[in-house]
């Protein structure tokens, strides 16, 4: 047990050290007013403004123009030769989740992603270093109807409450095809779960909405009776059906993981039958085959740039997908679905530009204003406009260039990533790490056996947990 103790000493000491230095750093850096001078502003909605200043006050973009002045004490950043892009919005992320799938049932609308958020996931910091400021955190794709989503701003290191995006409309994850069928996740000896085919996926969603309609009727009847002053007992609350009633009422967005054209048509037809609209089709790799139907349904599409061939339903994926849907009039965004890819969504946009003959502005929209509209948060983020939240990043070159790097990332006007500050503290962190490793308490025990190795990340799930909960997408 002693070796275990020494391990935890090491872990806590390193964590504490890291937190302390971060806090100090933020105290120095976070003044209420920041003036970014002489930058090329890629506003996304109002054109590219060269050699222009941007003033941040109280977390908002206060002014955009030339020759702006700042009050004394303001932080002034000379961004000559640099570019400012609105904070990138990742419309499909599983970052900071301690659990991704509640995979024991195929309808888990009662589960909430906001209950499993880990604000200290280091991948959040790595995403900030790629210019990302907002995430649509989604339940995994093991279930036809998954859990409720949570949109967050990446306020890395802050309490969870500060992450929650103010007034973001609530949403829910749906999933079609191989993942809810569990096609690629079968474990010998484990009972196969319903559904097992795309027929079953349709049926189980239909069944859930039929139940939701009945449930809604019970409440409508109850409220009508109350309005007539009748003394009737309320229906029993059903936490599974409540979010689906919100979908029927247009109060909750459906973000549906999908691949094949037929299943996309299936869901849109089913939604139209039940009187709601799919807000975003996620991945939507074969969307290009039915782009006009998607446009007609007015669903948004959030795609990968060129991810393909990893399973059968991804074999007809083409890198022209996003562009073809755009040309058909669909509102399209790109997403990462992966902490690694999240760090270079700008490169994803550049790839789509090549395959689809997009303009620079069209490419940048895919990762800024378009996902903001899809998530219903474009009033606050997604472009550089006076009055919007100061969520933005300064880039060393045009962000559609592979040679571009993020210098500084702001969320609500505060710096959450700064490359120079990051570089400056590396030596101290390395020294601290070496000291901790050399400390007597962390040395191998007398027996010669070294101390146990820490498990890497917070282990939310393990092999053999119910239904193999790693189906992210």
């Amino acid at each position: 047990m002693r070796s275990c103790f020494s391990l935890w000493c090491f872990v806590f000491a390193s964590l504490f050290g890291a937190l302390l230095s971060t806090t100090e750093l933020q105290a120095q850096q976070n003044t209420k007013v920041t003036l970014i001078k002489h930058a090329t502003l890629l506003t996304v909605t109002q054109g590219d403004l060269e050699n222009t200043d941007l003033l941040i006050e109280n977390g908002k973009i206060a002014k955009i123009g030339r020759g702006l002045s700042a009050p004394s004490g303001a932080r002034i950043i000379d961004a000559t030769g640099k570019y400012v892009l609105p904070g990138i919005i990742d419309c499909h992320s599983h970052s900071m989740l301690d659990a991704v799938n509640e995979g024991s049932l195929s309808v888990t609308s009662m589960c909430r992603i906001r209950d499993v958020l880990n604000p200290n996931d280091v991948d959040l910091y790595r995403a900030l270093a790629g210019g990302v400021t907002t995430l649509n955190l989604l339940h995994g794709s093991a279930n036809a109807i998954g859990g409720q989503n949570q949109v967050v701003k990446i306020k890395y290191g802050r309490p969870i409450e500060e992450f929650l995006f103010p007034d973001a409309p609530p949403g829910i994850k749906f999933a079609l095809g191989e993942n809810p069928k569990r096609s690629n996740f079968r474990v010998p000896g484990q009972t196969q779960r319903y559904p097992n085919s795309r027929m079953g996926v349709e049926e189980i969603i239909r069944d859930a909405f039929v139940r939701a309609q009945d449930y809604k009727r019970q409440w409508d009847d109850y409220r009508a009776a109350r309005a007539r002053n009748e003394n009737v007992p309320p229906p029993r609350r059903d936490l599974q059906l409540e979010p689906l009633v919100e979908v029927l009422e247009g109060k909750r967005y459906v973000h549906a993981h999908c691949y094949r054209a037929e299943e996309i048509l299936m869901l849109m037809n089913l939604a139209e039958e039940f009187g709601f609209r799919v807000r975003t089709l996620q991945h939507v790799l074969e969307g290009y085959k039915i782009a006009r139907e998607i446009a007609r349904h007015r669903a948004g599409a959030s795609a990968f740039a060129d991810f393909w061939s990893y399973k059968v339903e991804a074999y007809d994926a083409i890198p022209h997908d996003a562009a073809l849907m755009m040309r058909a009039g669909v509102l399209v965004s790109l997403n990462s679905d992966d902490d690694g890819r999240a760090r270079r969504l700008n490169m994803e946009a550049a790839r789509v530009m090549k395959y689809g003959d997009l303009t620079e502005n069209e490419a940048l929209r895919l990762i800024t204003i378009n996902p903001a509209i899809q998530l219903g948060i474009d009033r606050r983020v997604g472009s550089l406009e006076v009055g919007k939240d100061a969520d933005l990043a300064i880039w060393t070159a045009h962000p559609l260039s592979v040679y571009a790097r993020v210098e500084t990332t702001f969320v609500d006007g505060e710096i959450f990533f700064d490359r120079q500050a990051d570089l400056a503290q590396r030596e101290a962190l390395a020294k601290e790490r070496a000291e901790l490793e050399a400390a007597e308490v962390n040395r191998p025990q007398g027996s010669g056996a070294p101390p146990p190795v820490p498990a890497g990340r917070r282990p939310a799930y393990r092999l053999g947990d119910s239904c193999m909960q790693t189906t992210k997408e």
Binding site: D306, F307, S309, K311, R327, G340
Partner: protein, 456 residues
Amino acid sequence: MRKNWFVHRQQATLCGLAILVCGGWVSTPGGSSLVAQQKLDLSPRVTVAIRDARLVTVGGDVIERGTLVIRDGKITAVGTTATIPAGAQVIDGRGLTVYPGMIDAATSLGLVEIPAVAATVDQGEVGDYNPNARALVAVNPHSAHVRVTRYNGITTVATMPDGGVICGQATLINLYGTSPQEMAVVPSLGLVVNFPRLNLGGGGPFAAFRQPPPANIAEAIAARDRRVEELRQVWREAADYLRAKEAAAADPKVPRPATNVVYESLIPTLRRETPVFFRADRAQDIRAVLAFAEDIGVRPIIVGGNDAWMCTAELKAKQVPVILTGVLDLPAREDDPYDILYENAAKLHRAGVKFCISTGDNGAHVRDLPYHAGMAAAFGLDPKAALRAVTLSAAEILGVGDRLGSLEVGKIANVVVADGDLLEPRTRVKYAFIDGRPAQLTSRHTELYEQFKERR
């Protein structure tokens, strides 16, 4: 001259007939569209001159306006004063840049079509020691990945088996041809070894599907060491076998040992004719590989190399090259700097370690190779060195630096013509020549695109 090809004759250019180039397909002057249709890779070698183009030779200086000539499968002229042979087809290179085709030094392209479908995976054999398993025989020349990859300017890949400890023999193939043998540049490039390592868990995609970290670290270390000794024993037995064979050859009275296909496969590595590709990422594993290779007397190449920046002194001293496959990976340790893998290449370059950059991908995303190099350039690697890391350095490490990797007279004509910086995602490859043959830039993707763009 076959007509199913897009570069038209010099006379046609002089007549001023426009080539309509778009995303890699061309309408022929006659007007019949060759759009989406994929044809087999059956073109003969052609004589082509690309003139008035920017030539990024990689081996030497950039020629701002020059001509490159391809003939009989080779590059026959590079320079400002190159003569265009009579009858050559001419490409007007104004506004275009000519590069050597990129080389990905560590893929499994052609061995895996759809990873989720076992029937399409020919990447690994049963058992731990399969030095006689040869990647080349299983390469599918008609894999959709071949054309999707060359569309981005990658013309040659090393294809490696995986699984077990000695995975098998890698092969070097051009991304052109209708049989593995037609594609092969080096049929057997060397052995691939997954060097035994400790499994310490960790994150990354599908982490939960991997084995959990060992409960008892001391036992796990002992088990790893046993596996290394077992591996050493395989080579020692092969060395004994080789001595017995040599003794029998020298003296007819000495009995010849029964032929052993496993040991036979190890002999070229013992003679140092071919290298051994050791997959290793962590510093302790890289150092263990260096000691191991020295002990058994083989020529090591590190594949992976995420921690190579920690071992630059040893790598340089022993002149062991590194094929970096993790440039775009997430850092392995929670307290690693965010850019630790982005800048790995720059650190190796500064320290003078021989390295190249690879995707390490099993097929579908080998086309991302230029972006791996570009990201290394964004984080400190000189852009020229970044380009070299996916062309000439890769060729040199794979032992074909005299045949591939640069625009030099006498080299195999693997040449791509692009409308901009090859490492930029926005750049389009306009023409690709592989082994002096024009490679069609259509693919499963362009074909589906052409079909469905009509369905509005």
